[in-house]
Amino acid sequence: MNPLRLVTAAITTAALSVWFIGCGSEAALVTVSDSTDYIVEESSTIKESSTAEGLSAETSLSRDGFVFDHLPTRESRRAFYTAPPVIPHEVGDGDRECLTCHLQEKKFAGRLAMATPHPELKNCQQCHVRGASPEFMGSKQLSVETDWIGLKEPTEGHRAHAFAPPMVPHREFLRESCLTCHSASHPNENMRLDHPERVNCQQCHVQDKAKTEIIVP
């Protein structure tokens, strides 16, 4: 598992990203300082802090009112949880050089191209097809009448108790490299890693077998 360094570079290609660095500190999902219902024992530290670490046990357990705002976008790109996401940016049929942008995380003036967790697989478009082909957009042919309901994304990994590290709610197969998705610069708090200095993820974060185990009779 490779901890990835954050790479900032000037734009040299017309590559595309659809993630933005998230909102300013005031626009957190539920700002503790905005909530007047929240009862705090030791008020000062909680109010000033804007990261998860400063929150007490009750806050981290209470997910009511949390809107997992990365999930709609994630789900719009996947037929079901753990399906290969469709390519959310324009890509021509002649474009094959995905790894130019997706081998290592790349930031372009605030935009982020995520690194792939499986760069050893080179036939990207075997699994990742383009989402909504640009040149055919706007045509009636795009609508698909289907009743398919796919497996939902888990909102987070289960925690045994308030301070426990969340369990990993997905298989590691094809996702062996944690930091590619849980990058310290991921735009959404819920995916973003707030302790990138700790590199041995599996020491604390174990598989949640209830969600991940595939046992075939």
Binding site: P72, Y81, K122, Q125, W148, L151
Partner: protein
């Protein structure tokens, strides 16, 4: 031509629609109702789509498929899938799924009961049994093919049963039988792990067998050196990985293969020992030939002459010669429709075997010719169960009296029941349908009104005949049907498939089919039983009992024609049929194990034989001592089904022959047709899967940019493509999915609004009867 302003407006609208599409349903409302990862049931199955036969695991919740993942334990794909495999669950849920039987009354299809539908079909067959046919499929399960065989060959006895695999693998089949005396490959997928050189012969495996492509090139990513030679008529995604791209004039593959053989003999770099002991030569019309005579035959296929004919440089032809001459190289040849859908498909299959036989590159790990199969069970069902007009299960043929007797005994037919005269092959059957010689046809699991070549001719008058179509969605074929029957799809029924590498894979029914959709096996048994009730003599076995009777493990009859019995979860008709069929697989050493062994495995490659400790052992490579149990000790590599001497393969002296239709002044372009990775065949399933449809919503024509420039055509321009048979309008795609050779175009056939088969040619290989979808002559005209 759009002005800049209107173009920008268009793009803005496009952008807006993309954003709206991304919104989807309001997900906060939807979260509560929808499945979470907890409490999923997972069951295994082979993928519904191509002949690679990947193992999948299907995630089930609430009686629905909600996810599909690759089966990590499958030796085929080891957990990976392709876009179609991942999204296969969506195939079940298109909103217009057929859910009720229908009969056309006064020109319109109306819903009817199953009883009425079954009765109508049986009564029609009872009146005209001799001219009623079944057109089946390489996507039939083994149980379905076996039932159809009993129905036609034991029941109606006209032998008019042929599958769509005729249009896909027939040339490979006859090629195998002519060279080795028996069908299906010696090699297996482990050869992909061992080769150091791969040659594809007109095959875009990056899109068509993506898992096999990845299996080789992931080795390259890991640091192994693999040389890939792409011998092709157009640049594709596969070409991106190639070390050498060698573009050849269509049909000159025949000459190229002969040229490699010529070089091997000229240089003396052929495997002398292997050729002396395991190869005999025959002239094109079957007379014995010496090695010297064969070498003389190849004189015309020298490098200079073949370079002029094929367009491949002399240097590249020598490179091919070098590749096969090097005894250290492990060379894997792969091919599929480029060689099979060919007016000399049988010959080109024979010739590629000649190359490997002369080089001694056969039966060795990583060094072998491997014929790839297109459909998920063209091997398992069509070829092994013999659902062809001339064939019987287990590699038998109707012409052979012993073979007929074996089958009559297993089916308990009256002796002499099976007709020794082959029925109509596919193109002939459709010609018969058009002319009225065939009065009725039952189409199952295929869409001929979109996929037959030369549609105007072959589907003429289809709507005037008694056409029964069993399918899962409305298609261009159901539009012509007299009776439409809604069928169960994939994991809505029990089934068994057999893939390219002889791997038989079983799955259980996991979810119920929608509405009144029912298994194809049940449909055939129900009609057969209605015929039996009506007194139709041929549906009786030699004891006067129902011919298509099914018996459980205890030998008790299952009243399978009653839906409530067939559908009872405690009843497994598929198992009963499979275990009966098993005994017929032994004659040509295509042994399969009992059904329950497959339940516990991730597929097994036949011949599967039982060890002394009771466990079952599969065979990696046929004809190889130590792997194939039927090779006698000390024989090394032995083609034991050889008609010559039970050990030698035949190298046939096949010549180059020009195709029947070549570009000329009036029709100056070559037209090639095929698939794309997103869509399966005629797109009836994949077109209803959102991610796949949106990635590739409509058909187009790939052109070479030089031709486009000359014709002042831009990407997106409309053109009309015309052949002597039909015409079609399509948009041009430049530098897109593939780049055809100059003077060639490529059109995919998945789009039911763009029937390219109105344009294609139905000339077929005279030996295999397989038509050539890859070459005909067209003109391209710009539409203003």
């Amino acid at each position: 031509m759009m002005t800049d302003l209107s173009r920008r407006t268009f793009i803005k609208r496009v952008a807006q629609m993309a954003a709206l599409a991304a919104l989807g349903p309001m997900l906060s409302e939807v979260y509560a109702a929808e499945p979470l990862a907890d409490d999923l049931d997972w069951q295994k199955a082979p993928c519904r789509f191509c002949g690679t036969g990947c193992g999948v695991v299907v995630g089930l919740k609430g009686g629905r498929v909600v996810a599909v993942q690759g089966d990590i334990n499958s030796p085929v794909n080891r957990g990976l899938l392709c876009a179609k495999g991942y999204h296969a669950g969506g195939a079940l849920y298109g909103r217009d799924r057929l859910t009720s039987p229908q009969i056309r009354k006064n020109g319109k299809l109306v819903d009817v009961s199953w009883d009425e539908a079954i009765d109508t079909i049986a009564k029609h067959i009872n009146e005209k049994p001799d001219t009623f046919s079944i057109y089946g499929s390489g996507q039939w399960t083994i149980g379905e093919g076996y039932t159809a065989m009993k129905f036609i060959k034991g029941g109606l006895r006209n032998n008019h049963i042929d599958p769509n695999a005729r249009l896909c693998m027939a040339s490979a089949v006859v090629g195998f039988i002519k060279t080795f005396g028996v069908d299906e490959p010696s090699g297996c997928y482990k050869d992909l792990d061992e080769c150091d050189t791969v040659i594809t012969w007109g095959n875009n495996w990056a899109e068509m067998h993506p898992m096999l492509f990845s299996r080789v090139f992931n080795r390259r990513s890991a640091g192994e050196k693999i040389t890939y030679i792409d011998l092709a008529t157009r640049r594709t995604r596969s070409t991106d990985a190639a070390d050498h791209y060698m573009e050849f004039v269509p049909q000159t593959d025949l000459a190229i293969a002969n040229c490699i053989c010529h070089q091997l003999l000229e240089r003396g770099t052929y495997d002398k020992e292997f050729v002396n002991s395991r190869v005999v030569f025959k002239t094109n019309d079957g007379k014995p030939m010496s090695l010297e005579e064969y070498k003389g035959f190849l004189k015309d296929y020298n490098v200079k002459a073949v370079s002029e004919l094929s367009g491949i440089s002399e240097g590249n032809l020598r490179l091919l010669g070098d590749t096969f001459s090097d005894p250290k190289k492990k060379v894997l040849s792969l091919w599929c429709m480029g060689m099979n859908q060919h007016t000399r498909g049988t010959w080109i299959n024979n010739l590629v075997y000649n190359v490997h036989l002369l080089a001694g590159k056969i039966g060795k790990p990583g060094s072998t010719p491997l014929s790839l199969t297109g459909q998920p069970s063209a091997c398992g069902t069509c070829r092994e169960v013999g659902t062809l007009a001339h064939a019987l299960p287990g590699g038998r043929v109707v012409k052979n009296a012993d073979h007929r007797k074996h089958v009559e005994d297993v089916w308990n037919c009256e002796p002499g029941a099976i007709n020794p005269k082959p029925g109509f092959h596919t193109v002939r059957m459709f010609e018969g349908l058009a002319s009225g010689e065939i009065t009725g046809m039952w189409v199952q699991v295929t869409n001929p009104a979109q996929t037959m070549p030369n549609l105007h001719k072959n589907l003429a008058h289809a709507e005037d005949r008694f056409l029964v179509v069993s399918d899962v969605y409305p298609t261009v074929t159901t539009r012509l049907a007299t009776v439409v029957l809604p069928s169960a799809l994939w994991v809505e029924k029990n089934g068994v498939f057999g893939n390219t590498e002889r791997r038989t894979q079983q799955w259980f029914k996991m979810v119920n089919p929608p509405g009144q959709a029912r298994d194809d096996v049940w449909q055939m048994i129900a009609v057969a039983h209605r015929l039996y009730e009506l007194g139709y003599e041929n549906m009786k076995d030699r004891n006067g009992n129902f011919l298509l009777s099914v018996y459980d493990d205890a030998g008790k009859e299952i009243e399978a024609w009653k839906w409530e019995v067939f559908n009872d979860p405690a009843v497994n008709v598929d198992k009963a049929l499979f275990n009966e069929y098993r005994q017929l697989t032994l004659l040509k050493h295509k042994d399969i194990a009992p059904y329950d062994v497959y339940v516990k495995s991730h597929g097994l490659t036949w011949p599967v034989v039982q060890r002394s400790d009771g466990t079952w052992k599969e065979t990696d490579r046929r004809f190889v001592e130590g792997e194939d149990p039927y090779v006698p000790a000390g024989e090394g590599i032995s083609f034991y089904m050889s008609k010559v001497d039970k050990k030698s393969a035949i190298a046939w002296a096949r010549p180059y022959e020009a195709p029947p239709e070549v570009p000329d002044a009036e029709f100056p372009f070559w037209l090639c047709t095929g698939r794309v990775v997103e869509h399966w065949h005629s797109g009836t399933m994949t077109g209803r899967i959102k991610e796949l449809h949106q990635a590739m919503p409509k058909a187009y024509v790939d052109m070479n940019p030089q031709d486009a420039k000359r014709m002042r055509l831009r990407d997106g321009d409309w053109v009309q493509i015309t052949s002597r048979r039909g015409k079609i309008k399509l948009q041009v795609s430049l530098l897109g999915r593939s780049i055809p050779a100059v003077g060639s175009i490529f059109v995919p056939f998945f789009d039911e609004t763009k029937l390219i088969n109105e344009v294609t040619l139905d000339e077929y290989c005279p030996m295999s009867k397989e038509p050539d979808y890859k070459k005909c002559a067209v003109k391209v005209e710009k539409l203003s």
